[in-house]
């Protein structure tokens, strides 16, 4: 036969083989493993956080022998390279080629938004313990995107603003990375603080990955404020804290941080510069709650470092999904049942030592700790709670419907109440 005929025949043969395999695959589906796709930045600018996300998930799955509801669990890990285009590509691979029943992970908000947009079309459940973009659980909610064990950008800074008022602070300046997460954290603080009579004297926004903070520190030094709130993550946090100390500002103004700024992933490579910085978070690795202590101790024993937000959040996240799956007999294929179960689950085994549940909008409610960086007996630094706000939701004390009528926090809208 000629070349064209041969090609047509082979194509037909391959196609036939493809369709024939399908029914066989379907029949085996129920008994096969639960496939979970983990997207995480293993390379790129937030690579260290990404690695800890993997550790957190593996730490949990190992503790249950990779079994949920009697079914084996297969964890497929893909690198999103801290980049939304790559995240989208890998999400596609996990869902279309890897046949994963669900996706979990991502760190940077823009990667999360890209993947969320994709799963909106495929209906795959997507769990985001780390992504904090407010709107994914507020105004632009997607049914199958759920923030288990996570938080919104403004959730912890609302009570923090209240705490600042209680300290007697009247004037605060903020310096923050200029992106959604930064806007939301600062906005949360600014709204509550100004509504209570405080004043936000000035706000500095700098591009992500600013190496040299000296221009901002120079301006901050000249202000008359009671405290400075720094919303930084990753390497920016490391540099700001160091440069803040080296420019002599440490003794001048108390430094308040976003929880990412005093997270273990930052302070474990720092020295006395980070001593005494105060932040608000759900997790404080130095807490004396026995469940937290046990978690921290075991994690440190296994991975040689004190757990950070990334390890903790993913551990809690996968635990939440596992508890939800147990309730539906491990039927990961039934998406609606899974999502429904996740929304109803109350996490009982959380390292926080309390039961955590979701509000009506799919976001967890936490006891927020005001925590301080202190030096441990062995010389390492960690966060210890100094005050607590129980049962805080993403809406703080506001009525949800009213709250959602105000625009999302941005550079131009910080919720500041004019005096």
């Amino acid at each position: 036969m000629d070349r064209r005929q041969f090609l047509k025949n082979s194509t037909a043969a391959v196609a036939a083989a493809g369709t024939m395999a399908a029914p066989w695959r379907c029949a085996r589906a129920q008994a096969g493993p639960i496939k979970i796709g983990l997207l995480t930045p293993l390379t790129g600018v937030v690579a260290s956080g990404g690695k800890e996300m993997v550790e957190g998930v593996q730490f949990y799955l190992e503790s249950v022998n990779y079994q949920i509801a009697g079914r084996k669990v297969e964890l497929v890990i893909e690198d999103d390279a801290s980049n939304p285009d790559t995240a989208l590509q890998k999400a596609r691979r996990l869902v279309e080629q890897g046949n994963c029943h669900m996706l979990i992970g991502d760190l940077l908000a823009n990667t999360g938004l890209a993947v969320a947009n994709y799963v909106k079309g495929t209906g795959t459940p997507y769990f985001i313990p780390i992504i904090a973009a407010d709107d994914l659980t507020q105004r632009q909610r997607i049914k199958n995107v759920i923030r288990v064990a996570g938080y919104t950008g403004s959730a912890f800074t609302h009570p923090f603003g209240d705490w600042c008022l209680k300290q007697g602070y009247k004037k605060i300046a903020t310096i923050s990375q200029d992106y959604t997460f930064g806007h939301e954290q600062c906005g949360g603080l600014a709204q509550v603080f100004t509504e209570g009579g405080g004043e936000i004297v000035q706000q500095f926004w700098h591009p992500l990955n600013t190496a040299d903070f000296s221009p901002y520190l120079g301006q901050l030094a000249d202000l008359k404020v009671d405290a400075i709130f720094a919303m930084e993550t990753g390497a920016d946090a490391t540099r700001l804290i160091q440069q803040y100390a080296s420019f002599g500002l440490k003794g001048k103004f108390p430094l308040l941080g976003a929880m990412n700024a005093t997270d273990q992933s930052v302070i474990r490579t720092l020295g006395e510069e980070c001593d005494g910085i105060i932040a608000a978070a759900h997790f404080a690795e130095g807490s004396d709650n026995p469940v937290t202590q046990k978690f921290t101790k075991n994690y440190e024993a296994k991975y040689g470092k004190i757990p950070s937000l990334y390890g903790f959040s993913m551990y809690s996240g996968i635990m939440w999904v596992a508890e939800a799956l147990e309730k539906i007999g491990g039927k990961a294929e039934d998406r609606d049942a899974l999502i429904d179960s996740v929304l109803k689950t109350e996490l009982t085994g959380s390292p926080l030592g309390t039961t955590v549940k979701l509000d009506a909008y799919g976001n967890p409610i936490y006891d927020v700790q005001i925590r301080k960086v202190v030096k441990r007996a062995d010389g390492k630094y960690w966060n210890v709670p100094i005050a607590s706000y129980p049962g805080v939701s993403q809406f703080w004390k506001y009525d949800p419907e009213t709250y959602m009528k105000q625009p999302p926090y941005s550079r131009t809208f910080q919720g500041i109440k004019k005096a």
Binding site: R3, R4, L7, K8, T11, V14, A15, G18, L42, T43, E78, D79, N83, P84, D85, T86, L88, K90, R92, R93, E96, Q97, A109, N110, L113, A114, N117, Y118, G121, A133, Y179, T180, P207, L208, R411
Partner: protein, 320 residues
């Protein structure tokens, strides 16, 4: 006998390739069809870079930005301004061409490494705009939208549409580089001073060549925006330009259709490697190094060299 400018034998080969390409989705999974679609789109990008690099001797590190701008305009027009997909597509192409014209105006008097650096710098400026102009571009988060027309939502349908566009574009590019204008570009590549002394307006030719190259890159960019329903600053970043150049080189500078081969090779390699290790960046770097040292003519170029050596004094080769 010539059909549409090709000899009979070439036309048969081309038709066979098209037939295989059209039949592929019937044999591949949805994910693989997606990959094939990407290969077509990036193949087009690589070819557009080749028009300048292979035929005019100017390698640009700014085509990723041109490609990405088209995507931004398409998504914006579609998601924010609510325009129909066809109109958004045309606007995207126009925007890319406009950016290419601006780049060209600044770059035509340079060559070699300086051309490379200038296009790099211009690309970075575009990236900076996309990153910082949050009101319009969405900044860091990029823009999302349902850009595809309803009948192209399915994987296969979209693939066939892309295949159709790619075929037309490839044909147009092929005719372009073989036209008298294209031959002038080749002359400029080989010896600029000679062309000048022969009376050709070199900067004008380069300018037009750049604009045409940008136009084609814009088509690829618009298709990519439709493929992803999403665009972000990484679509216009330097890495995108670098990837395009690498695909072009892997296929073979000056071979035009080598762009598809290069794109297919790199995309396949990336998929295979990422399944086994996270060290894709190292593999990519090593690939660059190996290609530069051992096979700078790329896959097609090396194949051609082997074939011409085999043909001996007949010296005939396929395609060109």
């Amino acid at each position: 006998m010539k059909i549409a400018g090709m000899t009979g034998r070439t036309a048969v080969v081309v038709l066979a390739i098209l037939a295989i390409a059209a039949a592929l989705p019937l044999a591949l999974s949805n994910y693989q069809v997606g990959l094939a679609t990407e290969m077509l789109i990036f193949g087009m990008l690589a070819m557009s870079i080749d028009i300048l690099a292979g035929f005019a001797g100017r390698t640009s590190l700014g085509h990723g930005a041109i490609f990405g701008v088209s995507g931004y305009v398409v998504v914006y027009a579609s998601a924010q301004a609510g325009l129909p997909p066809a109109l958004a597509f045309v606007l995207g192409m126009a925007a890319a061409t406009a950016v290419a014209i601006v780049f060209a105006l600044l770059a035509v008097r340079t060559s070699g490494v300086y051309f490379l650096l200038l296009t790099l710098a211009l690309g970075m400026i575009v990236w900076g705009i996309c990153l910082r102009w949050t009101q319009v571009t969405g900044g860091e988060n990029g823009m999302r939208g349902d850009v595809r027309p309803a009948f192209l939502v399915m994987h296969r349908a979209f693939y066939w549409a892309v295949l159709g566009v790619t075929t037309l574009v490839s044909y147009a590019m092929w005719r372009f580089v073989r036209s008298p204008f294209g031959l002038t570009l080749l002359g400029i590549r080989d010896s600029e001073s000679r062309m000048k002394s022969l009376g050709y307006n070199v900067p004008l030719h380069l300018f037009v060549g750049f604009a045409v190259s940008g136009f084609f890159a814009g088509i690829a960019g618009a298709l990519y925006a439709m493929f992803n329903n999403f665009v972000s600053p990484s679509t216009v970043a330097l890495a995108q330009s670098v990837e395009g150049v690498l695909m072009m080189i892997a296929g073979g500078v000056g071979t035009l259709f080598g762009g598809f081969v290069g794109a297919a090779a790199i995309i396949t390699l990336e998929n295979v490697v990422s399944a086994y290790t996270e060290r894709w960046q190292t593999v990519l770097g090593l690939t660059f190094i190996v290609i530069m040292i051992c096979a700078p003519e790329g896959i097609i170029g090396t194949l051609r060299a082997i074939l011409t050596r085999k043909d001996g004094d007949k010296g005939r080769y396929k395609g060109n």
